[in-house]
């Protein structure tokens, strides 16, 4: 009995490995090819037959991006916008989530419902009114315009995830601090936030990703090259006379690095927080 079981296990293990290998090819090959192409000469991109490593192997594509102030500006813009959105989202979401988690108040249910529904409002529906609002507010082609509008995507998730986390913290913590005479804001900042770092890291990571990846609003609400973010910058490389494939691939690799680092450092927090907020809530 035990022996047949082991034989079955061995056979199924082979199938599991075959499945994993096929899946890894599907998921990983495009990425390998992207990295490989970023080290090729542009004339070798569609060489026949294709190969992973070519004679022209060089880091020229990276050098030409990292020495071009115009392209570096895309990265600086993306970092500035994404970090600002992350900081602002965290502040607003933490305040709201604390109220949702700790207080009963008239309108709580409706506000919660509204925040849930905002997730489903299509960006394309908001784009036209945002365009005219942003122009009216004189925020067209500014960082502030992008930062403000991105918060419509980031806030609902951040609040749902933070509320789910705060709900797991004992209310006795608040009570004890209240008895010591602390006001609600102090309780939040001195007692609750220090033990909420994992949740804030996970919400922050998710927020940064959304802001770093956003395309439609960045395309429409900015105009000049010096205000463009990385996703639009990559597209601008494509729009020029000839396609600089190797540079586009190098820029793609560079553009993915911040997200990769966030994943490497915070993967555990991030996936835990995401499933807690998105699914269990």
């Amino acid at each position: 009995m035990a022996k047949t079981r082991r034989a079955i296990d061995r056979a199924s293990r082979v199938w599991v490995i075959v499945g994993l290998a096929l899946g890894a090819t599907f998921a990983g090959f495009p990425v390998v090819w992207m990295i490989s192409s970023s080290f090729k000469k542009n004339s070798e991109i569609f060489a026949y037959p294709p190969s992973l490593l070519t004679d022209g192997f060089s880091a020229d594509a990276y050098l030409s991006i990292l020495t071009d102030p115009e392209k570096l500006r895309f990265f600086a813009n993306s970092y500035l916008v994404a970090l600002s959105v992350t900081a602002l989202t965290l502040v607003v979401a933490v305040l709201a989530a604390y109220a949702f988690s700790r207080y009963e108040f008239a309108g709580r249910k409706s506000l919660n419902l509204i925040i849930l529904s905002v997730q489903a409002v299509p960006p394309i529906t908001l784009l036209i009114p945002f365009f005219s609002l942003i122009v009216t507010l004189r925020l067209y082609n500014t960082y502030q315009g992008l930062i403000l509008t991105y918060m419509v995507f980031t806030l609902p998730y951040a609040i749902i995830m933070m509320t789910a986390y705060f709900n797991t913290l004992s209310k006795e913590l608040d009570e004890a601090a209240k008895i010591d005479g602390a006001n609600p804001l102090k309780i939040l900042t001195r007692v609750i936030l220090p033990i909420s770092v994992p949740a804030m890291v996970s919400v922050g990571t998710y927020t940064f990703m959304i802001a770093w990846n956003e395309y439609l609003f960045a395309l429409t609400l900015t105009r000049t090259t010096d205000m463009r973010t990385v996703p639009i910058g990559i597209q601008l490389l494509m729009g020029q006379m000839s396609y600089e494939w190797n540079e586009m691939m190098a820029m793609s690799v560079l553009g993915a690095i911040p997200i990769l680092l966030l994943f490497l450092f915070f993967q555990r927090y991030f996936i835990g927080g995401l499933t807690a907020g998105g699914i269990k809530n």
Binding site: D9, S12, R13, V16, G19, L20, G23, A27, G28, P30, W33, I45, P50, V92, Y98, A99, F105, L111, I115, L116, S117, Q119, A120, V121, P122, P123, I124, T125, L126, L127, I128, P129, F130, F131, S132, L148, M151, V152, L155, I159, A176, I179, D180, P184, N213, Y215, L216, P231, I234, Q235, M248, M249, S252, G255, A256, I259, L260, I271, T275, I279
Partner: protein, 314 residues
């Protein structure tokens, strides 16, 4: 610990003896509103006012382009709903969404089950999980450009297909009417399955091993275990994910815009690209607003099911 308890109790008693002044009572009642004030203001500015504006625009003629636009009632809606391209876009959006979400689910549950297998050591699973998550690291703009290179007639995918004899000459995947919709859907499948996989993996890890042990003692085959244990246990997660993914996929703009731009002709035109072109290529902001409101209503139907499902789970 017990000392603190006594101190705490003593303080509660002293506090209760004094009646709180009325102003403090008011303060206490207003505190939660102070906490939610920023998000309320932001949602008002970023959702309610814009939706009111877009509904207003949808009843106007030549809005934004001329200072004096006149009220035309529902005529913009009539124009949109009698435009053949709108229905082509709606059909393409439907095919794209159903194809993507279905494949996201199948790939997500397959990869999650493989990664949850008890037959492999943990470090192997960690490595494969990292590889499977890779598409998630890239923004849509990057994914679009990458796949334009891979699917190029002279690109590496056509090379493999030609040299293995599947096709005779390189296929113009993204610029042929017959294959463009299939190609963008395939790209979106690649881009979007990791979110499903990660969530379902977390769900799988939450299912008790005992259930499977008991089933295998009763002689249940792996497929039966999957059908009668795994799927029912994951059902709530699957429903949430499917609805959320339908909302996101039907709103996909950047991927289409950067691979085909909705073409060739209208082969990959979707509701978001159709609306965007009305506004920012044709400068028909009134018509675009009407189309945007129709998309909003369609999304709200999905949102309704999503919220009802979430409520039922609480």
């Amino acid at each position: 610990m017990s000392n603190e308890g006594i101190v705490g109790k003593f303080r509660i008693d002293t506090l209760r003896k004094k009646d709180l002044p009325t102003s403090r009572k008011w303060m206490q009642a207003l505190t939660p509103y102070g906490f939610v004030a920023p998000v309320t203001v932001l949602i008002l500015i970023l959702t309610f006012i814009p939706i009111a504006i877009v509904i207003g625009y949808s009843t106007l003629d030549n809005v934004i382009m001329t200072p004096e636009s006149k009220f035309v009632g529902l005529s913009n809606y009539f124009t949109i709903l009698t435009d053949g391209t709108f229905y082509v876009a709606a059909r393409n959006s439907f095919v794209f969404t159903v194809g993507s979400v279905g494949a996201h689910f199948v790939l997500g549950i397959t990869f999650a089950s493989l990664l949850n297998s008890r037959l492999l050591p943990g470090f192997v699973k960690t490595i494969f999980r990292a590889i499977f998550i890779l598409p998630w690291l890239f923004t849509v703009a990057i994914i679009a450009i990458l796949w334009r290179m891979l699917l190029n007639p002279n690109g590496v995918i056509n090379y493999f297909l030609v040299s293995s004899g599947v096709v005779d000459v390189g296929v113009e995947w993204l610029s042929s009417r017959g294959t463009a919709l299939l190609a963008v859907t395939f790209i979106n499948i690649w881009a979007g399955y990791p979110f499903f996989m990660v969530t379902l993996l977390a769900g799988l890890q939450g299912i008790s091993r005992d259930l499977y042990e008991a089933a295998s003692i009763d002689g249940a085959k792996p497929w039966q275990q999957f059908r009668h244990i795994t799927l029912p246990q994951l059902r709530p997660i699957i429903i949430s994910m499917v609805i959320l993914d339908m909302i996101w996929t039907s709103q996909q703009f950047a991927l289409i815009w950067l691979t085909t731009g909705g073409g060739p002709f209208d082969a990959t035109e979707m509701l978001p690209t159709y609306t965007y072109k009305l506004a920012f290529s044709n400068y028909e902001f009134g018509l675009a607003s009407a189309s945007a409101v129709i998309i909003l209503l369609l999304s709200m139907v999905l949102a309704f099911f999503y919220i009802r499902h979430q409520k039922a789970r609480d």
